[in-house]
Amino acid sequence: MIAGLLPQAVYLATHWLAAIIIAIGLLQNCVYILQLAIAQRALAQEPPERHMRNLWRRSATSAPPIALLAPAYNEALTIENSTQSLLGLDYPVFEVIVINDGSKDNTLEVLKSAFALEPLDRDYEQTIPHQPIRGLYRSAKDARLIVIDKQNGGKADALNAGISLARAPIVCSMDADSILEPDALLRAVQPFVEDPENVVASGGTVRIANGCLIENGQVREIGVSHNFLALMQTVEYLRAFLLARLAWSKIGALTIVSGAFGLFRRSMLVEIGGYALKTVGEDMELVVRLHRIFRERGKPYRIAFVPEPVCWTEAPETLEVLARQRARWQRGALETFSKHRVMLFNPRYGRVGFLAFGQILLFDVIGPVVELFGYVLMPLMWMLGVLSVDYLLAFLAVTFALGVAVSVGSLAVEEAELRRFPKASHLFLLTLAAVAENFGYRQLNSLWRLRGLWQWMRGEQAWGDMHRRGFQTRKRVQVFAR
């Protein structure tokens, strides 16, 4: 046996390494299961109001004005529909600020002709950094629509320009090509209404629009995509973007409000300098910075997550684009972690320092490396004869079983508490996806995240191209390529 030839020290080292990998894997899965339990409890205790009329009756009079910030870069094909859809939202007082971030196509011209834009004279002070504004317009058809034309600077830069110009106390950051449900604002603003003194940010759920029937910028019929990657992402978004974020918000340690849909108290954003410009994870960085500043100042605050306001987004359907997106997310998480590393396990930052940063360390920093190590090391140890095949199989079985349990459990919580998928066949398809994602998709994800880690170590800053099919027509759009 090869094992017999190995020095005792190497033998022991490999065993310790294997034990650490197994322990980290188990810890990750335990965190997932805990998140699932917290989210299930939260949803069962406070089920979302199903009827819009009840929401309106209870909250409309006390709902603060909101400025919707929609940055757009080369969105000529969809900008008219997207803007129309935003103007059609059900909310008492809001304005839509579309920020044309130096598009190279005719995004601005489309807006000008579709909404009869006229030059607008609005005073503002540039208290947060962004590229110069070239022009400011208001729609003659709908006074709630304002368009900013500025030099290209990226999404964060465009949002900063929107924050400067906005006059509502609450701003909503989103992607121009995302679709908000009509009642999304009224639902997402609830934490600000209930606790206006302490709430500084509120996030909603982002769901996958692939497979849904979309007409005039509205989701008319919820469906499930038959594209393998989009299907995997549907399950993944349920687990990671709905239940995990709900759980983190319940324990006061939510570190991300999605850039696709999040509400912020404008005065706070101005006070802390708006979005950071030199990062690809500006949404996460902003929320972590809010935590850090409030904790350092010793001020009470709350960052909320509301599970029912839904923003629909288009998921990548090709490996190439998905790989780029995941690597970018990984870089964003690592940039934020590195920039605010002083918070890690620092009692001054409470749960955020211990739980949230501990989780980033476990999942984003060492997670991908450990997982890959596990997949390589276990068979290697077996080949070297230091691990029995029985244990290898048992280890793999429990790893996959935990993965399946977490994904299927997320789906079960969704069905029991929210029931957003209209057909039983959707659930069946998603159950298959929840199983299938453990055999290949997760491992690929780890690889992409490793690539993100590598890019971060090399200091790469590019966003990369996002090829989207578009909700209305097939199209190719570059999102903030720099």
Binding site: R167, P196, V398, F400, A412
Partner: protein, 346 residues
């Protein structure tokens, strides 16, 4: 070592079996629900037609009700029809439902089952106002779920078996009940019918939530007699009561409340300042514009915003204050003030 291996495998299998078992059950439940609801439109149309026939001709229709789902659909249709029917037609409908023993079923269902089913049954019991129903509703009011509890209370009040105003105010002490629009509506109704009793209750010991609901209800009456007691309530030690009193003075609508509201804008609690600002705007008391001006620099954004909104409602005087403020205040307030002034002019 074999024990450990077995344990790992058992854990893995239990996890997988448990996950699939749970989701499988949920999928089966979904399939059953979908199958049940498939013919709903036809079923509803049939029931509606039969119930109309009953109302117009008095002829008893033959209603096919063979399962719980059909019973639920019939109950929903009967409830919709009952809202449109009056007098003898309604009496005939109720008699038919009683003959079908639906009242008993609703009573049973009001006390068990899912929240949604219980709510449906409780609302249906409004058609059967008798002592037995009142007893059932009283039991349902003890439900842990606030929605069930308050729905039962509302139906008990609607059927004439409800508690008096002080009984309703006691209910406000239950966790979450104080924010209930249902309880607010019930108390407002009682206060409108008997303002002296409502004013008397202001002087008895009440929970904080109960006092807030009572003050709001008194404000909604619009009666001049409420002015004095609300003024007194502005000095209550509980800030929520003071805020409610300020809001109620705005709802009451008498300009005599102006000086007291101006004083309330100086309150140490932001909620009181907020409600006072709103009330001044609601009254259109332009002579109080100066009292709103300091609130444009309030540390709480919501107070600032409501103050701006209130100034915007005070006409030229308010707008000129906003314009002045836009030139003098710090950035955040300045932008908002200017926005409101611009918006109001447009």
């Amino acid at each position: 070592m074999h024990g450990l291996l077995t344990f790992i495998w058992v854990v893995a299998l239990v996890l997988v079996a448990g996950s699939f078992g749970t989701l499988g059950a949920l999928i089966i439940a979904r399939l059953r629900r979908t199958a049940l609801e498939r013919g709903d439109d036809i079923l509803r149309a049939g029931y509606a037609k039969a119930l109309r026939q009953l109302a117009i001709t008095g002829e008893r229709p033959a209603l096919a009700v063979s399962n719980a789902h059909q019973r639920k659909v019939l109950a929903e249709e009967a409830l919709s029809s009952a809202q449109l029917m009056r007098g003898s037609a309604k009496a005939r409908l109720v008699a038919l439902l009683r003959d079908m023993r639906l009242d008993r079923r609703f009573r049973r269902q009001a006390l068990r089952g899912t929240v949604r089913d219980r709510l449906g049954a409780i609302e249906a019991l409004a058609l059967f106002p008798d002592a037995e129903t009142a007893e059932t509703l009283r039991t349902a009011e003890a439900a842990r779920d606030l929605r069930v509890s308050l729905a039962a209370l509302r139906v008990r009040v609607a059927t004439g078996f409800g508690p008096d105003m002080s009984g309703l105010l006691e209910r406000a002490a239950a966790p979450g009940a104080g924010k209930s629009a249902i309880l607010q509506e019930l108390i407002e109704h009682r206060a409108a019918l008997n303002l002296p009793e409502a004013l008397r209750l202001l002087n008895v010991s009440l929970s904080s939530a109960g006092r807030v609901l009572l003050l709001r209800a008194i404000g909604e009456t619009g009666q001049f007699e409420a002015l004095g007691p609300l003024k007194v309530a502005l000095r209550h030690p509980d800030p929520e009561a003071r805020a409610a009193a300020a809001g109620a003075l705005g709802a009451l609508g008498y300009s005599e409340a102006g000086p007291w509201l101006a004083h309330a804008t100086l309150d140490g609690d932001w909620r009181v300042r907020l409600r006072a600002a709103e009330a001044i705007g609601r009254l259109g008391a332009w002579e109080l514009a100066a009292a709103l001006e300091p609130l444009l620099e309030d540390p709480v954004w919501w107070v600032r915003f409501r103050a701006e909104e209130a100034l915007g409602r005070l006409g030229e005087v308010g707008l000129s204050k906003l314009a002045d403020a836009a030139g003098a205040l710090h950035m955040a307030a300045r932008a908002q003030g200017a926005a409101l002034a611009a918006g109001a002019r447009a």
